[in-house]
Symmetry: C2
Subunit: 342 residues, 2 copies
DNA sequence: CTGAAAGCGCTTACAG
DNA sequence: CTGAAAGCGCTTACAG
């Protein structure tokens, strides 16, 4: 056998026309059972597989989705945000279940990702997953929409978005954490993480936090908020900044687990005990969260459900059906880092 | 503009033939600068992108590699072995650097993965990454080789393999850990992990361990070895089994960090202190390793280098050049879990 | 139920 | 340097 077998080879071997081979292998009801069996057998014998490039070219779709993962502070190789990695896992599975392949790619915000996979027909649609200045790439989203590219995005779900976005209930998560910390007797809760519309997910968490404080008639103090992006390093630095401000606080609500982990390190380096001196809570429930010392109270986002929802909605868009942005529930996971006494 | 522009549209707009458009866009030296510029401009204006399906069909290759990730004990969705996740990250990057796309897929050992991506021409080659009974899928590897499929595998590098495998120096890693534990005064070191040719990577680590013990004139005791696969749960169970045997030991060498983490939990549950009563060391240096309590001594595999090597060699195979199996160096990372005194 | 034929959008000898 | 033409391997109306 030289080269791969084609449908003509199968046709020849099964004594039918090439068109019939194609029909049989695609499961067309027009083919008789007997013929189908003969063709299937010939195909098996020659280890024939339909050439996807040819079939995609003909049918005008690829059976493939593209996942574009981007982080603003481009992580060194393998140190991708664990939460995204977990999403990647569930998205891959969700695709497989629906018979789609998944193309994975890392991008920088600055790149031309808005004009690639879908345009080259390598993918039928795109899933956007990442962390970066929302205002900076909002235009690109609009461009994608204008071009008619099918895509869904993981991120904050806001009223005025041009695209289909799936996200968790960040506001609610922020409320839950803050309420919990108050219940534990904390009164001066600091927030580590960006709190502006540049980073809507963090901002929603912050708004949930502020909302609960206000309802408890507690002040929302600007000096208790420090910007941080979602890395351990950034969390460490932010924690130091907060400590240097000398404003008293008895709890930290970090906008992500990575930030929380950095903060824990910084607190430990200054000799502060957790949760004795300071309670700490994060967001995401990454695998490491339960292993840090002390185990970290956090908010779990159901990545499995998230992956399903993203793929589900993207497929709907591809099929021309209506798809809607939606918010997934969150779940407070209480661990030692926020509990009153050991 | 209805539908996407094709090369004919560009040709029309630029006033040249379609063949010239194709040449210009592929960077053929046959096209004059002036013509190329005009074509490029027309392409930009129409936001034209070459249809990959068509071009792949013509050129007989896809510019895509497939990563097949499989775990024997199929992990629940997002809980993929963190080490593999890290590899996934570096492989994706290595592909991108070389202009290749990456198709990611989870597989079970039992599936027909040996006859898929490459056969359907969706990928030019395959990277195999996973954990499972080697003897069980060795036949499939042989089949891949026989079919002429281009693939490389991450795993143990053994003398008699039919395929190109890249792995770390597991034997050396096993030696390093064991030697370190001996230096810390430990004498009865247990090994948690499968130690048979079914799991060659673990087996190599075990052989390194046994080798050092023998050179130190210490016995290699079967009752100090307990099988375990690379999950926390399995590590926990294995640790319990070992404890129940009542054979004295003062150190644990776990074949992977996940196993080590499970073991640490089991030891803690029985009230044993680490490293006071028992020193513990793992293998892989997953992100969590530095966060467990106490921080885990382990062996780092350079995933960045590993991803590069895999992609590099696969590309070589695809280009018909010789590729060779190879072993990457490992690095002992000493942390608190194995140190004599606090 | 089956076959002959057109065509998906490219790339690349071949001829100028 | 450029164009006309063949062909990559399929799918799917169209005609029987």
């Amino acid at each position: 056998m030289k080269g791969k077998a084609t449908s003509f080879d199968i046709a020849h071997r099964a004594g039918v026309s090439q068109s019939t081979v194609s029909r049989a292998l695609r499961g067309s009801p027009l083919v008789s059972e007997e013929t189908r069996r003969r063709i299937q057998q010939a195909a098996d014998e020659l280890k024939y597989k339909v050439d996807k490039n040819a079939s995609n070219l003909r049918t005008r779709h690829s059976g493939t989705l593209a996942l574009l993962l981007f982080e603003d502070p481009t992580a060194d190789d393998s140190h991708i945000n664990p939460f995204f990695l977990s999403m990647l896992g569930s998205i891959t599975r969700a695709c497989a279940q629906r018979g789609y392949d998944l193309l994975v790619s890392f991008q920088q915000l600055s790149n031309d990702w808005h004009a690639d996979y879908a345009d080259t027909r390598k993918a039928d649609g795109i899933i956007l997953l990442g962390y970066g200045d929302y205002l900076a790439y909002r235009d690109k989203l609009q461009m994608l929409v204008d071009q008619g590219t099918r895509f869904v995005r993981w991120g904050a779900v806001l009223p005025d978005q041009p695209d289909v976005s799936i996200g968790c209930d960040n506001f609610r998560g922020g409320q839950d954490v803050t309420r919990h910390l108050l219940e534990q007797g904390r009164r001066r809760i600091a927030f580590l993480g960006d709190a502006s519309s540049h980073y809507p997910e963090f901002f929603e968490r912050y708004r949930g936090y502020a909302d609960v404080l206000e309802h408890a008639a507690l002040p929302v103090e600007p000096q208790l908020q420090v910007n941080a992006e979602s890395t351990e390093q950034s969390g460490y630095t932010a924690m130091e900044t907060l400590l240097d401000r000398k404003a008293p606080f008895d709890a930290i609500f970090a906008a992500s687990d990575l930030i929380a982990i950095g903060a824990i390190r910084a607190l430990a380096d200054r000799g502060l005990s957790i949760p004795g001196d300071v309670a700490v809570a994060g967001f995401d429930d990454i695998p490491t969260a339960s292993f840090v010392n002390p185990p970290l109270t956090t908010v779990r986002q159901d990545t499995r459900e998230a992956g399903e929802a993203l793929v589900e909605n993207l497929l709907r868009l591809i099929q021309g059906e209506p798809a809607e942005s939606g918010m997934l529930p969150v779940k407070l996971v209480v661990r030692k880092s926020s509990l009153r006494s050991r």
